[in-house]
Structures are given as C-alpha cells and as structure tokens.
Amino acid sequence: MFLEIKDLSVKIENKNILKGLNLNINKGEVHAIMGPNGCGKSTLANVLAGKEDYEILNGKINFKNNDLFDLNIEERAQEGMFLAFQYPVEIPGVNITPFLHSAINSKRKRMNEEEIDNLSFAKLLKSKASDLGINIDMLKRSVNTGFSGGEKKRYEILQMSILNPDLAILDETDSGLDIDALKIVTNGVNKLKTKDNSFLIITHYQKLLDYIKPDYVHVMVNGSIVKSGGSEIAAEIEKDGFQKFQ
C-alpha cells in the first residue's frame, strides 16, 4: 500500500476534528475529497504534511512503507510528499529561485542523488514556469509575497512540478483560479501524472474533476469519510449538496 490511513482521530485546542478517518491510496491513483466547510479537509492535509499543532489521538498512517509519524515535516517532503497549500504563506525577503533550488537539492540529497547546479536549475525552473503560464519576472520576487490569490495557486503547482512528488495533496488549488488558469494548472497536473505517483485532491467544485479525472471520490463530513465511489458522487454533490450525507 502506498498511503494507508487507519482510524485517524485528531484534535486541536480541545476540539476533535478528525474522527476515525480511513483512507487508502495506491500508486498511480487520483483521489478526490469533497466536504462542507470546516469538516476537516485541510486538517487532514496538514496532518499528512506533518504540521505540529495537532494532537494525534488515535490511528496509524503508513506512507511508502514508513510509519508516517516517524518522519518529521522535511523528511516527509524529501520522501516525496507535497502539499499545495490552501493558503500559501507569504515569505517576504526570500527569493523564489534560490528557495526552490534549495528545496529540490535537499530532496536529492536524501535520495543520494547529485545536487542540481545553478544553471541547470534556472533552465528547469524557466521551462516549468512557462508551461504553467508564469511570467519569468515573477521568479525574481519573494515567495508568495504580494501574489494575487490565483498567482499563489499557480506558484504552488510550479513548486509541485519542480519537486515532482510521489504523493501530491492539492488543497483547494482550484479556488481562486480563473477558467484559463484552471485549464493550465490542471493540464500541469495531468502532465505530471504517471503510474507511479498519486494525487489527493481536495475541492469544492465538480469543475476541477472534469479536468483531472479522479479514480475515487470521497465525501467527508464531520471528520470522517462517509461515502466513497466514482465521479458520479461529485455530480450528486453538485446537484444536492451535502445534506443527505450528514
């Protein structure tokens, strides 16, 4: 099993958020999670990425034959996990290019691969950026600083395509994107998709799933997954909302 979440319960500040959540993802699969505001989708994404504010009450997570809780945040990233944030953090004064360069090299180091030099990296970054319709001038700016909502999302996907993860978690990457950007971004995701990597896509809109075809759609309500199935579930939700799942 590639990612196996078993009976996961998580709380933050005395509030139980995830309640006995189960989810299995195999290599090469695309999973989508839909659910009402506040049901715990971002919490799940953050717990997977290793954010330390949460208290894990119960459960097990296995990722690529590792107990995920044995890995710290950066080790998870180096092992191939990537979270595209719902709200990417602005980091003034940290230039995008060297930032991503260090990111890719810390991953390569763990994999015992040779570090990528400045020149090759600049080339790689430029070509990936132009694939995603990102202006080269933007690469001179500070990480997320002053970016528009849509620019931030695009930049998350740029990072993803540079780091080429085994498991990409996209937390509402479609929110805030205009229709053209949505096409470009989903196109970027589809290009990256192989039989060896997997995606966990959190979204509120069926639209995204028209572009990225999920193998499974899960409905999350009140901290656990209440229904799983194929794309037809997304259409159901689009039509009737979450009422009947609650």
Binding site: G50, E52, E74
Partner: protein
C-alpha cells in the same frame, strides 16, 4: 571608591584638567552623580546596567606607544588605526586630523539634547582620556575607515571624537570595533554637518564577550545636509548604542538604523533620538534585533518635533525576532509633536519566528534549522541588500554566517 575620589586619583591622565570651564562642568557632573538615586525604572541609561560595576570601576589608561597610522591609499580613501582612542595628527588639502581640544569639550557641554542624567555620557566627560577631531574640507568627497584598537586588558577608554563635514563635503565613514580584550570603551562622537554635506556612517561592532562598548553619537544637521547611520552589532560583549540627531536647519535628514544579533547572556541597549528643529526635515529610526538564548535588548526611539518644524516627516520602526523563550526585547517608541503639519508614525513588532512560515519551508524539504536561517536572513534582507559598499556587504555577510552557524 566613589566617582569623585576615582576622578581625583586619576586626574593626571585625564584631559583638560587645567581648563577652568572644563573643571567647572565636571564639578556639576560630580554633583549629578552624588545626588542621583539611580532609579533604573525611569532612567533609560541604566536599563540592564550592573550599577556596582558601573559606579565603582578601576580606571586604567595607557598612552599608546606607537601612534596610530594613517594610510593614504589613493586620492580619496584613508585608513586610520586608532589606538586606545588616539590618532596621530594629519593634514592634507582634503582632511585634517588633530587631537580633541578643550574648546570642543566646552562646546559640547552646552548641548542639552542628551539628558543630564545619562550617566555614561557624564562619565565620558569626566574621565576623558582620548579622542580626535576630523575635519572634512569643503566640497571634498572622501572615504575613511577607522579600526579601533585597544592594546591592553583592563583599560578604560573615555574618548570624545569630533567630526566636521564642511559645506558640500561628503564622507563615507566605516568604523570597526573588534576588540578581543577585557576592556571598556566609552565613546562619544560629536558630528557637525554643514550646509549640503553628507555623512554615511557605518559602525561594525564585533567585540569579544569581555569587552564593553558604550557608544553615543550626537549629530547636528544644517541646511540640506544628510546624516545616515547604520549600526551592525555582532558583539558578544555588552554594547550600548545611543544615537542622537538634531535637524537644526531646513531640508536636512537623519536616518538612524541598527541591527543587532544577540545570543547567550548578551545584552544590548539601544536608543535613537531625533529632534526636528526646522521645517521640511525628514527622519528615519529603524532597529531590528535577533535574539537567541537568554539575551536581552532594549530599544528606545524618540521623535521630537519642535513647533517651528512644520512639514516634518518622521518614521520609527522596531522589529525583533525572539529565537528562544528566554530571550527578551523591550521596545518603546515615543513621539512628541508640537507642530501641526507633520507626518509621523511608529511601529513595533516583536515576536517568535513565524511558525507558519517554518512549516511552509519545511514542507518543501528544508530542515528546521535551514528554515530558521532562511527566515532570519530574510528578516534583514532589505537592510543587507541596500549596502552599496561591496567590501562592507562582504564583511557583514561573513559575520551573519558566523552568527547563523550558532543558531540551533
């Protein structure tokens, strides 16, 4: 030993004891010491100060055997090695360097911008044993680098320097304080900027743990002149940076900036004070601090706008990153405005490093330490990238790397 006895005992190697005006002034200072209750709460000059060490110190001074050197590298650049606060005399058509004179002392003693109960400045006047005066002549554009050297352990240097930038002149002044021995330097710089002159003053402070540096600057700016000061404090010993500026004629500017990097038990006290005394002047006071371990800092910033000083622009900012729960940074901005047409602001943000940013960076594969270092560097990125002297930028970068290497 009390201050007065200490003074009388060491009178023979203190400057200007023959001058009646100086002696009269010193009598007043001794009275101030006698009558002060050393109320730490209400005296900014006493914050974080060990009163016993400060009032009861062993005075020791040595006149340097080898007088300091001046190298005329090329037409416009000078290197000075100041030894125990002294500097050899020098004169060419661009600059003139002499010993400090009693008339300079008397001139400064009349100034009332620095509080009467700033005891460190008072000690400086009382025990004065060194100092020099540099005049930059009219319309010259020069660069001076001063290395401040102290020859022996246990020395107490009380030094007053005067800088005069004559009309239309421009000076880039880089001062290095890198003392390794167990000694104390109490330095007062008095700077006069004449019409249309500019001084860019860089102070690099990187002393060993046993060295105390108390440095005070008083600058005054005439019409169209600019005083820029940038302090970089990497010292492991105590440093006090108190810097005062008076904008006495129209269209003048003062920019007082500092960055301090503290760790272990180190303490740094900082103060900037700008007095707007004429129309259309600008001032900027920005201090940033990075504090690790159990280090402590204070920063008092003050903008005083006189009632004639219309169209003043005054800006104050204090920022700090606390890398440890045991570090503390006390900052107090103050504004006193007596004119009505002014633009003034102040801000202060001090806190631990942004955990969300750390999470974001780590989620891209960088370690926690790497993330912390990235954020510290970015915190001062603006200041570092604006250093336009290449040699300076390199020096500061090296010291920053050394500081970061100790961050765990």
């Amino acid at each position: 030993m009390n201050i007065q006895d200490n003074y009388l005992k060491n009178k023979k190697n203190i400057f200007f004891t023959e001058n009646e005006n100086v002696e009269n002034h010193r009598e007043i200072l001794i009275k101030i010491f006698e009558n002060d209750r050393f109320d730490k709460k209400n005296n900014e000059s006493l914050k974080n100060v060990n009163l016993k060490n400060f009032l009861d110190f062993n005075y020791k001074y040595l006149v340097p055997e080898e007088t300091s050197v001046i190298n005329n590298n090329n037409d416009n650049s000078y290197s000075i090695v100041s030894v125990n606060g002294q500097c050899t005399s020098f004169k060419d058509d661009k600059i003139e360097i002499t010993k400090i004179l009693d008339e300079d002392y008397n001139d400064f003693s009349k100034n009332d911008t620095i509080e009467k109960n700033d005891h460190f400045v008072n000690l400086n006047s009382l025990f004065l044993n060194s100092g020099f005066k540099i005049i930059i002549k009219k319309n010259n554009n020069i660069k001076i680098k001063i290395s401040n050297i102290i020859t022996d352990d246990d020395l107490t240097i009380f030094q007053k320097n005067n800088y005069i930038c004559e009309e239309g002149s421009s000076l880039n002044l880089i001062e290095e304080y890198e003392n390794k021995n167990n000694s104390t330097s109490n330095i007062l710089n008095v700077i006069k900027l004449e019409k249309n002159s500019q001084l860019n003053h860089f102070l690099i402070q990187d002393n060993a743990p046993n060295h105390n540096l108390i440095i005070t600057t008083h600058s005054s700016c005439k019409k169209d002149s600019i005083y820029n000061q940038k302090v970089y404090n990497f010292s492991e010993g105590y440093v006090r940076n108190f810097h005062y500026s008076e904008l006495i004629e129209t269209n003048s500017e003062a920019d007082l900036q500092g960055i301090f990097f503290l760790k272990d038990n180190n303490t740094s006290n900082n103060k900037t004070f700008v007095k707007h005394l004429a129309e259309n002047c600008k001032s900027n006071q920005v201090y940033k601090g990075i504090l690790n371990d159990r280090s402590k800092a204070t920063y008092f910033s003050n903008t005083h706008v006189d009632q004639v000083a219309q169209k003043t622009e005054g800006y104050q900012l204090s920022k700090g990153i606390l890398l440890s729960d045991n570090a503390s940074y006390f900052s107090k901005p103050e504004l006193k405005i007596y004119a009505d047409d002014v633009k003034c602001s102040h801000g202060s943000t001090i806190g631990p490093i942004d955990e969300n940013a750390i999470f974001y960076i780590r989620s891209r594969g960088m370690s926690k330490i790497a993330a912390t270092k990235i954020l510290i560097s970015s915190f001062i990125n603006e200041e570092l990238s604006s250093i336009n002297d290449e040699q300076m930028a390199e020096i500061i970068q090296k010291k920053l790397v050394r500081y970061l290497s100790k961050v765990k």
